[in-house]
Structures are given as structure tokens and as C-alpha cells.
Symmetry: C2
Subunit: 458 residues, 2 copies
């Protein structure tokens, strides 16, 4: 029997898909890199079915490309060497929840919003919030983060344990549910951020947080980028436990003003959110205001009222939509550099000069507490010359970030879009170490070939 | 030339040591496992010298056993197959510090107290506090933690980057200084907790924290263990950011009363520490008191005064010393199980019944927020039968913890003392995965043979 026939025998026929549209969709993500369709799409329902699929793919030498929500940005899901896309859409059960232990176990295909709805009535929440409604499995595989990691950490700090299917088709749990452990190598963190190249993530145990009693939001517009970043640094030095601290540059604010008919100061702006009880969040906002004023803030607004809070943050939440409206028909080419916060203002300033010289338009937003910022370069998808200018701009940005002891990707991952930068960032010996680990765990190169540091097998 | 002669050529003669006493000391830690002396002890001063040593050891096929302060507990430093002990005592420089970035880079041999002295005047501190004055390299290698991880995390959350020497003698930095990154496999976390089996850690970049403006301490004695643990669970559910939350059982409190002539309630007791500004720490203590009262606390005392704070915590700080005084001449055999907090009270209760039946004496202290607790079994070091009873008790405790979805070691590591439990905890396939990684990075088994999941090469 051929691979497809064996897959149909292992699953139901309607969970083995070969239609061109579905294949194309599964090889395409939200980034600008070329898509590549898999030959077959399969939809397992649990770890056992996933293991059976992996064994069949191994037998037939067919590459395996995991697929969650398809919201990645660096070509993670492109089937560069063909093969089988394992879509986790039907692995969408929340398996257990313990409010006492503050942890939850989900199948890989559960989405962020689905989890949020399940957790909300229990008085707990899961903190990691990339922009998209990604799957938890995809977020673990990518090492995702978002606006809350300044307080609650990234996926690396919030994944307690994983269930993975290995290249042999074995089902392995990487760790117990104990809150901490020193029992052997940290397989959990090795798989977080491995982008499906070491094995297939089928279940994830996550840390959850108590829902804060109160939330307060604030915005602060500054005369200069330096003043905004210095304020952020001082907020951290004062141990103010900001839940969110987001930066938007004046181009982004201008876009928001135009798109939503607002009248914000067109200036570098920080958006804050504070979690705690009412007294704590008010005190945090007041202390933050004091710091912002010492740095010449143009206007500091804060509120504990929920409707006003949403209004204050509207400009941040609508940033991407407003940005794209600056140039109708354009596509956002998103960068992801991350540097030590002491180098953040200078890195952004040099990047803005470079951007101006390039003739491209790009609003900037940043998770300033982490030193991570994104340019959304507005490119005409049908203009290869313009796309090349964006590629070149990103290339120089990555080199600038690495020179500042930063990274080419703070949260989007490597996919095949950033593979070329790994050696520059980590050195040849470190990349060789990654390749040795890849070869040890996946000797025949079954899992997501051509991604991260792995090469397409000849 | 033989290995020793080549080492003398590479270093100075006085940094290549072969005296019996020094060799014995370097093969001995603070645990109860048999020591094993290395053949040679060397003291490099930097990564380059360490790399030269590794290359010479590789050339001569001599095993390498890293040595920090010798405070490990599971036989980590025993040279089971002879070879060279690399002592990091002269790698004791603090290389850089950035208060803006809240990070510091140190050589592996810098000790916790040495770092604390350097950081204190800068208004920052490093949070991880195992009992001993360990080296930072040793703490990274062991995946150490202590009393503050409930708030600030373990070494896994606080190591930003490592410099390691590989089996090829290459010097590799595992990661940039960016606060977060998704650029490839997480080599940093793979080396944290690898106990010198994958390479030699020579430099560590750590996250530091702002020194809190104010600290408040509290103690609370409870009628039952359940009441104490339920209080701890509720404190976490209320998102009270306790900096420390330690449990001591009634045996431990009795020991402290006797040794320090105190008059504490002989009952399960929680010790709290709160960090923040004066208003915050008072509010945290008051909220915690309310929770404790709802659980029938016998007495809740709290203070913001530094001298009184030290007095309140005296019983916790002197726990080990007081415990040993219960039985003069005894040695503490320390266990390290860690379970989900929902299983903590039941696991401790079953363990206490087992302890009573065994005829052994063991005060219990625990990092209750993490579900981690230690029995200090007081054994006569010259009585093999009694030691065997302690070994058996620990064996049953580990099995009980693993059955509760916990771990055999929360913070002490595996060494060779807990290797036998890895398969029970993780399953055979996960341990095989660890062995595959070990073989990939250290094909000739040079680094710390016989530790964690590695076997002595035949």
C-alpha cells in the first residue's frame, strides 16, 4: 500500500485530505515567505493517532510538517520537501484543569481563545498572548510570547510539560507536573521553540495565573523615544509589576489617529496595564506617572474604568489594522528584532533612519520591557523590487540587533525565513550543536525539514 | 608527554594538583553517597584555559568532572571513572553588570555571597538562594533553586545565557543577552541542570532584580498540616506575590525550640516574606493573615522591623543546625521530592507515617509554594543498617512523589544518587532521548561519566 492508503486505514478517510485548496492552505502562513503545499493533510484526534501517522511517515520516508492555526510568520508550515501536514484542528480538547495547582493540560490544537473561555469562569487565565488566535501547540513550538511577558513570562516560562511523538513514533512526556524539577535534561524547554523539527507536540501542560481583581490602564506620550524608553527602564528598576508596557512610535500613532479619527499626541507613546487589587493598581499607576513626569511626559492618562480602559488601549489594539490602512492594498512585512533594553532606543533610532533612507513606510510597536520591537513594513505584494528593499532593510536590522547583543527573533521563531541568521547570532559551533541535537533525535530528518538549523536531506 | 605534563605546560605547575588530600576533597560533596577522587585537579582562570584543558583530556581520554564549591548532595563531583577535576575556584571574576538591563555576567566560580556583595551597593540582587554558598556555575549546572523561587523562579528562569566549553574544546555562548529569543533550540536551558555532562560551564549571565524598598516577615502556626498547605494554596490563588513561603513541621519547630531555647507553638508553621514598598508589604501581610485566620491559624505574627524580622525567621534559618542537634553526631540525609501543591499535604502525611514506622527521626522543611520539601533524616554515619533504612525510606518517598505526578528531585539534581529513578519518573523513551542528546554532544563520554542519564563507558 502507498502512504495515503495506509493513512486512510489508520484514520477515517475524511481525515486524510489531498484536495489542492486544503493542501495549499496548509503550506501557507501569514508571513511573506513562499508557501509550499504538502502532499497530504491528516487530522489526528489524539497522541496515539499522531504516533501511528508518524510511524507511517517514517516507513515511507515522508516529511512531517505540523500545522496549528497557520498564523506563523517565518514559513514554519511550508512543506519545503513535500510530505504530510499534521493538522491539530481535531486535537482540540482541554484535558484537565487544576485551579489548586494553577495548571491546565490541553491538546495541541486548542486555541488561545478557546482556552480563555474555559478558564474565565474559574477565576484564572493563561497569560501568553501573541496577536493571533494561535493554537497552544503552535505557540509552544514557536516559543511565542506577546504583551504580557514583561510580567508573566513567555511560553518558555509557562509550559510545564509537553507530550511529544518522537521520530520512532513513541509517545513521550517531557516532565512531571511538579512546579520545578532538576531530574535530568530539560526536554520541555528543548521542545519549546523547536518548531516541529525534533518531534510532534500533541499535548501541553500550562501554568495559569489568578485573574486579577482589578486592572488599570494608562497611556503616556513622550517628547522623544529616549524619554519613553528611559521611563520604561525606570519602571522596571522600581519593581513596578507592570502587566503590559507597550511602545508605539509617532508613525503608528499618526496611523491610529487617521484610521480611528482620534486626536492623540503624535509622539512616541507607552501603553501600560496594571494588575492587582484596586489599591495596588492605583498605586502602580501613580508611581508610573511620577516616573513619566520626571522624563517630561506630554500627557499621562489613566483609568480603572473598564470601558475607558478599552478606549485608552484602542490605539494599541488597532495598531496593525490602522498601520495597513496607511497604504491600502499593502501587506505588512513584520520584523522581530529584540535587544537588551539599554540598546533599545539607539537600535530603534538607527532603524528609523535606515527606514527613512529606504523610502519604505513602517509603523513600529514594541514590547518595550523585553526590548522586542516590530516594524510592520507596508509593502506592495506585487512589487518584487519593493519586497527586496524590505528584505534588505530587515537584514540590516537583524545585523544591528545582533551587534547590540540581541536576537534576530524575539518571539516569531526561525522557520526557514531566519535560518540564515542563526550562525551570525550564535556562532558556527552553537549551530553545529543544534544540528547534532536534531540529528540525534531525528536521524532521518523526518520532522519539518529545512526549518530552524536543519537542512533538507539530499 | 603524559596528561599531567601537558597540563603543567598549558597552565602553571601550581594549578595542576595531584596531592591526595586535594584529590579526595574534589571527589567529595556534602551528601551521603560514596566519594571518588579524581587523578588530577586543575584550576583554570578563564574559558580559554578551560578549553585547552578539555582538549588535552579529550586527547588522553581522561574524564572531566567539574567542581564548584563541593556543596552538591547527590555525588555530582565524584570522579567515578577517575580523570580530571576542573575546579572553578580561580574563575571568580564578575565580568560585567548592567543595572539598566538588570543582568550580570560572572565566571562560573563566583560564589553566591561574592555576587551578593558586588550587587548590593547597586540596588539590585540575585534571587536564587540554595542553602549553601554555592558557585554560580554549580547552581546553573544543578538547576538549583531555594526559598525565593515561588516569586522569582529557579536558575532556569534566571540564567539568560551561558558560555560553555564543548567536547571538541570549542567555546560556545548559548544565547544573546536579549531578554527573550526564539532563535533556535534553547541551548541555555539544556545546559542548566545538565550537571557537567554535556560540556563545561565557564561563564553565566544572570537576571538580577531590583532590591525591594521594604520587606515584611510573618510566621503562622497551624493546627494541622492541611490548614498550613491550604493557606499556602489560597495565598497563591489570591495572587499575593510572596517572596518566600516556607513550611516547617512540628518536629522541626520542636528542634528549634530546644536548640535556641524558644517557645514557639509546636505545630506546622509557615514563614512568609513580602517584598515591595512599605504600604504593599503591609497590605500583603494583612491579606495573608486574613487567609490564615480563615484556616484556623493558632498565631500569626508579622513585622516590618529588620531586627524583629530576623528574629521571626531565626527558626527557619537555623532549621538544619537545630535539626542535627536533635541527635548529636548524626549526619543529615536530605531528601528532595517535589509534587503538585494539591498533593503536597497528603504526600507529606504519608511520608510522616512511613517515617514513624521506620524508627528514624527527620524534621521536615519545605518550599511550599513549589510543592518541594526536604526531610533531613538524622542518621548515624557509622551505622550501615540505619543508613540502609534511610535509603529505603527515601526510595519509597521518591516513588510516592512520582506517583503523585511529581519529581524525585526539585532542586538538588540527579548526580549518580538519583540516576536510578529517572526512568521511573520520565519513562524509558524520555531517558533514551536524554542519552541520545548526551551522545550527540559528548560522543566519547568525556564529561562527568555516570551522572544524570549517562553511563560509564566500558
Amino acid at each position: 500500500m502507498g502512504l495515503k492508503e495506509e493513512l486512510v486505514t489508520a484514520l477515517d478517510a475524511d481525515r486524510v485530505v489531498t484536495g489542492a485548496d486544503e493542501r495549499r492552505r496548509h503550506g501557507t502562513d501569514e508571513g511573506w515567505h513562499s508557501a509550499a503545499a504538502p502532499d497530504i493533510v491528516v487530522l489526528p484526534r489524539d497522541s496515539e493517532e499522531a504516533a501511528a501517522i508518524v510511524k507511517l511517515c517514517a516507513k515511507h520516508g515522508a516529511p512531517i510538517v505540523p500545522f496549528g492555526a497557520g498564523t506563523s510568520l517565518e514559513g514554519h508550515v511550508a512543506a519545503l520537501d513535500g510530505g504530510v501536514s499534521i493538522d491539530t484542528a481535531q486535537m482540540n480538547r482541554i484535558l484537565r484543569l487544576s485551579v489548586e495547582d494553577m495548571d491546565v493540560t490541553v491538546q495541541a490544537g486548542v486555541t488561545r481563545r478557546q482556552l480563555d473561555e474555559r478558564l474565565r469562569p474559574e477565576g484564572v487565565f493563561f497569560s501568553v498572548d501573541p496577536g493571533a488566535d494561535a493554537t497552544i501547540g503552535g505557540m509552544a513550538a514557536t516559543g511565542a510570547s506577546g504583551t504580557t511577558s514583561v510580567r508573566y513570562g513567555t511560553m518558555r516560562e509557562n509550559v510545564i510539560s509537553l507530550t511529544v511523538v518522537t521520530a520512532d513514533g513513541e509517545i513521550v512526556r517531557t516532565r512531571s507536573r511538579a512546579r520545578k524539577s532538576s531530574a535530568g535534561y530539560d526536554l520541555t524547554r528543548l521542545f519549546v521553540g523547536s518548531e516541529g523539527t525534533l518531534g510532534l507536540i500533541t499535548e501541553v501542560t500550562l501554568r495559569v495565573q489568578p485573574t486579577p481583581e482589578a486592572m488599570t490602564a494608562a497611556t503616556a506620550a513622550f517628547p522623544t523615544l529616549d524619554a519613553a524608553v528611559d521611563t520604561a527602564i525606570e519602571v522596571l528598576a522600581h519593581a513596578i509589576p507592570v502587566a503590559r508596557m507597550e511602545l508605539a512610535d509617532e508613525v503608528q500613532i499618526d496611523a491610529v489617529n487617521q484610521h480611528f479619527e482620534l486626536d492623540l499626541d503624535v509622539a512616541p507613546t507607552l501603553f501600560f496595564e496594571f494588575h492587582g487589587n484596586a489599591a495596588e493598581t492605583e498605586a502602580q499607576a501613580a508611581e508610573t506617572q511620577g516616573i513619566a513626569e520626571a522624563h517630561g511626559v506630554l500627557g499621562f492618562k489613566w483609568t480603572a474604568d473598564e470601558a475607558e480602559r478599552r478606549a485608552l488601549w484602542h490605539a494599541r489594539h488597532g495598531a496593525y489594522e490602522a498601520g495597513r490602512a496607511l497604504r491600502p492594498g499593502s501587506q505588512g512585512f513584520t520584523t522581530d528584532a529584540c535587544v537588551p533594553i539599554s540598546a533599545l532606543a539607539e537600535t530603534i533610532k538607527q532603524t528609523k533612519e535606515d527606514l527613512d533612507a529606504s523610502g519604505l513606510i513602517a509603523p513600529i510597536v514594541g514590547h518595550v520591557g523585553d526590548g522586542n520591537f516590530h516594524l510592520a513594513i507596508l509593502v506592495d505584494p506585487d512589487d518584487p523590487e519593493e519586497l527586496q528593499r524590505a528584505v534588505d532593510l530587515n537584514d540590516r536590522l537583524v545585523r544591528r540587533a545582533i551587534a547590540a547583543d540581541g536576537t534576530c527573533t524575539g518571539e516569531h521563531g526561525v522557520g526557514y525565513g531566519k535560518s540564515a541568521f542563526l550562525e551570525l547570532e550564535h556562532g558556527a559551533a552553537a549551530v553545529e550543536m543544534m544540528r547534532a541535537i536534531k540529528t540525534a533525535l531525528d536521524p532521518s530528518g523526518l520532522f519539518n525539514p529545512g526549518k530552524v538549523a536543519s537542512r533538507i536531506q539530499e
